[in-house]
Amino acid sequence: MFFAVNDRPVSFIWRPHNSLLTVLKLTLEIKDLHVAVGGRQVLRGVSLTVRYGEVHAVMGPNGSGKSTLAYAIMGRPGYEVTKGDVLLDGESLKGLTTEERSLKGLFLAMQEPPQIPGVRVSTFLIASINKRMGADDLTRVKNPLVLKRIYDAVKNVGLSKDHLTRELNVGFSGGEKKRNELLQLLLLDPKVVILDEPDSGLDVDGVKRVAEIIQELREKGKAVLLITHYPRILEYVEPNHVTVLYRGTVVAKGGPELAKRIEEEGYSFIK
């Protein structure tokens, strides 16, 4: 069945990270999702599927509901699913807290991550990593290899060690915040990655680096939901699928050619 809907069925199957079983389970499925925020119906029936080893781009003009979709998947309080469902590996996420969804392997790189005064980046990273390893003390580094991994990842996303001792996102430039999101992404190693406009606010080198990281994630067999309303990044990383949202509904679906069309014509053809 999936051969029919998949762009690259063959290369996909040969990837050693993906057992046939996980492929068959279709990974992240969003089914007829309706979401109300602050009493307002923001999403009105969104369906899409993100498979392991694929990049699914979600596009749409400002205010079309892209971030709302991301928050609803992560179970953010206040984002009420009024109809439809989100399934991970065939299981509904209904009733799971954000914490539980994260521990199941979901990760959201936020469009505008908030500042957390008082909490150092290193403390936060170590706590998140320790939590995943089941440590009873979230603040101590038990294995020195963890520190090495952190230093490597810091370099990888183009931040410096100094950022580690700074308070989380406090006084970070727009680009530094985005890189800090990628840093967490690399260290937490989730299986489903939602990137909410990871390219905005980044310089050209930054955008290229994000594209490389997305490419690596895909190669490692992650499922990537890439939200963007600006197709520039799609020049560097070709999506397997594109879904276009407008006013809370899906108005177009297609492959990379849909992104190209948006790049040339803008969103006028869907409005």
Binding site: Y71, M74, R76, P77, G78, T97, T98, E99, R101, S102, L103, F107, L108, M110, P113, P114, Q115, I116, P117, G118, V119, R120, T123, F124, A127, S128, K131, R132, D136, D137, L138, T139, R140, E167, Q184, L188
Partner: protein, 473 residues
Amino acid sequence: MTIKLRDKILPEKGVEELLGYAVPTKTTVELRGRISRSLVEEISRIKKEPDWMRRLRLRSLELFEKLPMPNWLRGIEELDLEELTHYVKPEAGIAERWEDVPEEIRKYYERLGIPELEQRFLSGLSAQFESETVYSSVKKKLSEMGVIMLPMEEAVKRYPDLVKKYFLRVFPASDHKFAALHAALWSGGVFVYVPPGVRVEEPLEAFFLIGRAMEGQFEHTLIVADEGSFIHFIEGCAAPMYKGYSFHDGMVELYAHKGATIKFTTLQNWSKNVINFNNKRGIAEEGARIDWIEGSIGSRITYVYPSTILRGRGASTRSMVVSVVKGPYLKDTGSKVIHVAPDTRSRIINKSISVDGGINIYRGLVKVLRGARNAHAHVECDSLILDSKSMAFTYPHNQVDEPTATVTHEATTGRLGEEQLFYMMSRGLSEDEAKSLIVLGFLDEIMAELPFEFANVLNRVIQLEFKKLGGLG
């Protein structure tokens, strides 16, 4: 940031859990009811006090009757002084060895690890249960240096001239109604005198327990550091759980003579049954220093304002208050400094954390009198509010009558927003773990300034208080 505490002397359980419900203990005297002349005289008679102290009490009683209820107090409506037992004498003497303390009482202290702490870390300890001291011991080395540490009542009898010079002179009973009440009913507490030039490197500690409901505890602590001496005094308090409430109206007076240093550290960990009113004030003479550290964790309601009068040239003070309110309780805290002399310096650091409906109020004062040339004061006041049910208010007050003085003030209020919590939880942390990280980060700076042993204890107590916020214990 050291968070895990492997220190055996620090119990793994919360104080309320450790002490459990109050067990009945034997008493020989209980005085309750209306606060009257005959009640005050009876306390004085039981204590076999000299006449000057009896008269001091009676004068204070008159003041208590005259003075109005402080109009800035909030939340004190439930306090009915008439229904309290104002004096409870346990059936126990003042022991010098723990074996000699009655078992039910000793058990409370043992559960808190106090005797062990004493052995390892302290050069003297005084323990009070209800209205009287039940244990008092000073290491020999200290007595040899001429340091005096005695239950307050004994000091009144044995060193009347010394005591008279300072008692209620630093904190006059006329200051407010509860100071007057304290002065009329005081019982227990510690007197410490450090001779000139003597440095007491290991701290002295006094520990206070209130073992029953509907009781008033009014201990009086007076510390005199003579010229060029040094002392660190620690004060701890706790209570088991019971139905109803109890009332604590203690007083601390510090006198630092020329060039002396007094560090006074409090770890307040009353159970949620205690309404806690504290009266704390120190006077620093020329070149002297007074440092207050107040870890205000427990209690139902707390009013505490560590205050210093910088009376001599070049005197200085630092006051650090950490106030944690978790649950539907209230803390009204704030440091006060009065700069009287030139070249005096003060620094106030106040950090409050409000969570689960808790309310923190900061009420501080910096007053620079005319003539306190080049006085320098800095106030830093940070509030952290962890949810939408909780609140923090700050009422800093500066009154500067000296043009050459520098007074600076910084205040921050951080409210943990829904988005921040979501962000942290989206990395796999639970709500409580996220809050713990934020709290410990917020206190990072203050923990670094504390003496190691005390930082450990405070850290532990905060973690226990936030145990439901778990994951860090």
